[in-house]
Amino acid sequence: MTPVPPSASHLTSRHKTNWSEMWRSVLRLSGRWRFVLGIAGALFVWTAAFSPWASFAFGYPGKMTLSGFPGGARVYLLPLLLLVSLLFFTLPVGATAGVRAALGLLFIAGYNFIAISWEGDGVDAVAWGAWIALLGSLLLLWAFASFLWEEADGRSLSGQTAGHTAVKLPDPIWQMLLVFGGVPALLICFVYALDVEESSRFVSLICCLGAGSAALSSLGFFNWTSELLARQRTFAVILLLIAALVFPFTQDGNGYWLRVLISVGVFASAAIGLNIVVGLTGLLDLGYIAFFGIGAYVSALLSDADFTTVHVRVPFLLVLLIGATVAGLVGIFVGAPTLRLRGDYLAIVTLGFGEIFRITMNNWNGLTRGPNGIAGISDLEIPSLFGSTPLNFGDAHEVFGVSLPNFANYYFLCIFLFIGMAILFSRLGNSRIGRAWMAIREDEIAASSMGVNPVRFKLLSFALGASMAGAAGTVSAHVTQQVSPDSFTFMESILLLAAVVLGGMGTIPGALLGAGVFYLLPEKLRAFQDVRMLMFGAALIIMMRYRPEGLIPNRRRKAEFREEKSRFSAGFLKGTGELDLMQQNPVQEGGT
């Protein structure tokens, strides 16, 4: 039974540079110095938070010239600082968390330092507060890192690996209370973040939240929360749903964020479909946006738009069905010949198909009006539940005495769309079909020897994913009120794929989070418009390197990725609790 590692694995390098060793020996600190430096660092940062960062006022936001007041980005130092101070008492366990939190402080200080000197034309614009913030966070980093090194050395001497204790949860009633408090707290954070206007403050907030989560994650906080949410899933989902439904009532009739959230919702719905293909079945579809485009064009053509070539108006629910069906059929047409082949071929064929679709839409003037696209798509009308006049989505409504902008209609529609997709996804994922997909993803040959017909199941997955994209596309056409070929470029496909990958392959919250990150962040980071794609490419590379399972991984999938990585650093998996999940071998279940 000689175990043979997977084909590419034998190429792992075993060279190790000794740079890190060198640095460590230079920077190593003895026990007392660590505390001295750490406390000094914390004090510095604390002082910095209340000291001026900019030497004169020149339009850099947030009253950064004032002292005695933590205005602007400085305020985001405080939560991290609090965390760091608490972590001092948990040492040496909290060393990793401390390093991460200190890095967050360093990023905030560094970012604002650079931004101030950039906008103020030189380092002269930077006041002493920013300098000591940098200094303090570096000291903190140093102090915590030296704990980490000692721990690492100790481990290599004794050969022990850090254990992973089982998650302990309080009583069910407390669990519910925690969820009941936690979910709104999260949403308040979210609404607060949306309200942060300036880029500098927003970036600092992101650094604060990111570093804070990273620190908490190293303390096992997210294992704990995910366990908690797994137990109280229904409750949490209902709370989230209520919050989502209430959101439009908090916007004072302003449609801006509703509009943004609508596009997040539409793309998250499409991302769920892509998640079936990529996350569950492991097929790489690089032309997914084309199926979305098919739905959009179908919907545009059948809605009697102002600028169109077809003058019919079909009821929307029917259009939704037609769009999904057409996209699914095209999916079968594209997938059938190529799904027999090795995975990479599917990637290039779907990419080619995406381009063919875009070029066809661009050239087929008689139907699609070529590059001009179809514009002036009318608002949706669906039969009203309450009266004889149909509900027009273009109208603003008044509900419970609160006036809702017309976008609220589409917002609610998107929520329904997303819920529909999510239900479909989770029902399928937990069914016999879903298990067959996962079996194929893990090992196609083994799956087929268990009686799963890989081609048929792959085709099913591919076509279903396509028709879900088509359905999302039909909604999208009405939201944007126009469709044109340049909305369906390769980059859009990649953006969706990246949303799935970043959020977490094979999970619904992952798809939502991914879509949120990719369609919300650009709204907030307009100052970075130009480098957006660069950051996005870099994010793909970094994610694949350090967290290929995504931010919110499917638990089973996470175990697989980790196992793949640690196959040679043996001993790591011992007692992590992930083993139990591994034993639910999907191949056997799916083969019936």
Partner: protein, 237 residues
């Protein structure tokens, strides 16, 4: 006799599976040492770990008193240790001659390759005849000879053979083992891993019996052949 290869407390894992547990053995200069055991006993894993294809979890390997642990595989070969992998693994779409050239990859450019070629051609005349043929078209026995010849091209001090008899007819197996004996006469030290315990032990100066990743018996080849348990378990008696 000095110990050319020393393995101490070697453990290897694949993920959660501990394939080799605390194995120690030694190979003396000029000897033939056999590791025998059933399928899955960890024999191949041990060889792959010695030649650097797999990292050990624990334990040390010394070759000519130099520690090998954590050297990359290609440097281990350069230090004079050749490994004929299980299942021959010749490069199928390269010619016999090209395969032999690759065997001499560590030996610097050109200089003594001709002498080495001469030597392996005397050992395996068939390879001289087939020089221009693609290795994938050779018969199993010929491929095994090519694999051994290829390993010899680097002029190794220690030759590690992994299941040279696998899938071969008895006559050809006999021929291969004759050649192994001949190599020892010429001064090459051999570490032989085999399922075919009869052939391997009758040739060996020293033998180790492996069972699910651990050494369970040690002795001279002849002693082990007489051992009751070995006869029962491996010689089908």
């Amino acid at each position: 006799m000095t110990e050319l290869l020393q393995v101490r407390g070697l453990s290897v894992r694949y993920g959660m599976i501990e394939a080799v547990k605390d194995v120690s053995f030694a190979v003396s200069e000029g000897a033939i040492v056999s590791l025998v055991g059933a399928n899955g006993a960890g024999k191949t894993t041990i060889l792959r770990t010695i030649s650097g294809l797999l990292p050990p979890v624990a334990g040390e390997v010394f070759f000519a008193d130099q520690p090998l642990a954590h050297l990359p595989a290609h440097e281990i070969v350069a230090s004079g240790l050749a490994h004929v992998p299980e299942g021959r693994r010749v490069f199928p779409r390269m010619t016999v001659r090209e395969n032999l050239d690759l065997g001499a990859f560590v030996c610097g450019q050109g200089n003594n390759i001709d002498a080495d070629l001469e030597r392996v051609h005397t050992l395996f005349p068939i390879l001289a005849e087939r020089a221009g043929q693609k290795a994938g078209t050779l018969s199993g026995g010929e491929q095994q000879m090519l694999a051994i010849a290829r390993a010899l091209m680097s002029r190794p001090r220690l030759l590690m053979l992994d299941e040279p008899s696998m899938g071969l007819a008895p006559l050809i197996t006999q021929r291969i083992f004759d050649i192994v004996a001949e190599l020892r006469e010429q001064g090459t030290t051999v570490l032989l891993v085999e399922q075919n315990a009869q052939a391997a032990l009758s040739l060996a100066d020293k033998g180790y019996v492996l069972e699910s990743g651990s050494v369970v018996l040690v002795g001279t080849g002849a002693d082990l052949l007489m051992n009751e348990d070995v006869r029962k378990a491996y010689l089908a008696e």
